[in-house]
């Protein structure tokens, strides 16, 4: 699903990623870890085409990303469900409208969109809150809305950038459990996280980044 071949990213005089190689199979779930500034965000940005690599090749869903021009970026992004650390919900939208946004962008009509939004909200256990503003929710609930928005389009790939960064251990475990559920039905999941304690308890491979270098390639513990 995701293939990095000798990928480097240079920002001025700083190397964010050096000759990164890794492969994530369709249907896999993996963690991406490392201290802050190790290159986790850069790696995710390259997959999202928020950045272009200085050298090397990034392939997502059999598509070489270097072949995509600016106009083709949106369609690429629509294939990926993205979960942010700070959830990036729009506070002047209702919860329903936040979750419906990817569908609206993809041009779904109201009927199909309503059904899918409710299914996604039901999945994260917040169906009864659809008319509220995200502001009234706790941070754990806000993150779940962020996840509902990421899955509403039924993407084949979910990327999450520190999804448990602001949450206590119990809520974090709950969120990770949600991701595992999506993975069980065939969705590829890549989660950037520095919550090592939590990661080590879960049976998924870990990509360890250290100063732009992949120091521990996909360990297959527990698989």
């Amino acid at each position: 699903m995701i293939n990095f071949e000798q990928v480097s990213k240079q920002y001025h005089d700083k190397s964010a990623l050096v000759n990164a190689n890794f492969h994530l199979q369709r249907g896999d779930m993996a963690f991406l870890t490392g201290h802050s500034g190790a290159g986790k965000s850069t790696l995710l940005k390259l997959i999202m085409l928020m950045e272009r690599p200085t050298s090397g090749k990034v392939i997502v869903d059999r598509q070489d990303l270097s072949q995509l021009n600016r106009a083709e970026v949106p369609a690429h992004r629509r294939k990926i469900g993205l979960v942010f650390q700070n959830h990036q919900l729009l506070m002047d939208y209702s919860i329903f409208d936040n979750v419906a946004l990817p569908l609206k962008i993809s041009g779904y009509n109201e009927r199909d969109s309503g059904r899918r939004v409710r299914a996604a909200l039901d999945k994260v256990g917040l169906l009864d809150k659809e008319k509220l503003s995200p502001q009234v929710l706790s941070s754990g609930e806000q993150q779940r809305i962020g996840i509902a928005r990421a899955i509403v389009n039924k993407p084949k790939l979910i990327l999450a950038d520190e999804p448990t960064g602001n949450l206590d251990p119990a809520l974090s475990a709950e969120i990770m459990h949600l991701f595992q559920q999506f993975n069980q039905v065939g969705v590829t999941v890549l989660i950037a996280s520095h919550d090592l304690e939590l990661i080590q308890r879960l049976p998924h491979p870990v990509i360890q980044l250290n100063q732009g270098l992949i120091s521990a390639p996909l360990s297959m513990r527990g698989q």
């Binding site: 993205l82 059904r115 999945k123 899955i151 069980q184």
Partner: protein, 324 residues
Amino acid sequence: MAFFNRRPALTASRSQPESSSKRLLREHQEVAISSWRRLWQTPFSNLLTWLTLAIALALPAALLLLLSQAQHVGAQVNKSSHISVFLAANVSQEEGLLITQNLGSRPDITQATYISAEQALVDFKASSGLEDILASLTDNPLPATILIEPANTSLSPEAVAILAKQLRQQEQIDQVLVDMAWLDRLQAILETSERFTYSLALLLALGVLLVVGNTVRLQIESRKQEILVIKLLGGTDAYLRRPFLYAGFWAGLFAAVIAWIILLLGVAYLHQPLLSLAQSYQSDWQLQGLSWFGSFVLVIASCGLSVLGASLTVGRQLRLIEPK
């Protein structure tokens, strides 16, 4: 987990697939409605923008309105302009009438009227109030005159000048008087006003583009977070641009309506003094408001300029906002 199971969703309850044109139409409808609703979230600042645009539109529209009607009046004035032909002293009344008849049958002359020297004296006495002095004269100093009204096709100053030149060449004619200076002056004034109005309209159209552009820039700035999220979720440029173009369209429409009302009030305010002025020139001319066609042009120009102003800004501004 049922959520990601695609099959049931695809077969059981998926509605008929929409054609792409139908979908585009529906998306446009949705954006038109949502951008309309957004207008009323900040009604006061929108009203200020609309008023600014309306004034920029009403000013050249009012001048164009006045100008087109002044040109109409100008044509009427030209129509009432006569050529006075003074016959030589040795031309008899019979000869004079014959010349008048000949002139009257020319295609470039609508009417030729003979005024005998005696008649001219009587008229002059009556209108000048110099009866006593004139009575003391033994001879009639006035020549016989033919008043010529040029045909409609020969009303331009050039055509009138050519006609006058041809008349001067006739032996029996002593003098031809055309108030050309007045006609030239009127023409020059009209042309100056016309060019002034067009320049002003051009500048104010540019003003409309800038005002709408700036408003859209501020709107984009205030919705930066939303735009960033939409870009990350895969919203296309066209999708992002659409609400701002509709905002421009609505602004243009409201500005046109306000400009139309301003023009209506302006015409009502000027109606009475202009009527008195026209009457003092024995004209029944009245200042007319915008016609249906004029109103239509106003709306099209306003909406067109606003959408253009929005589209010139929106692409550039949206490119500046990229997720980092």
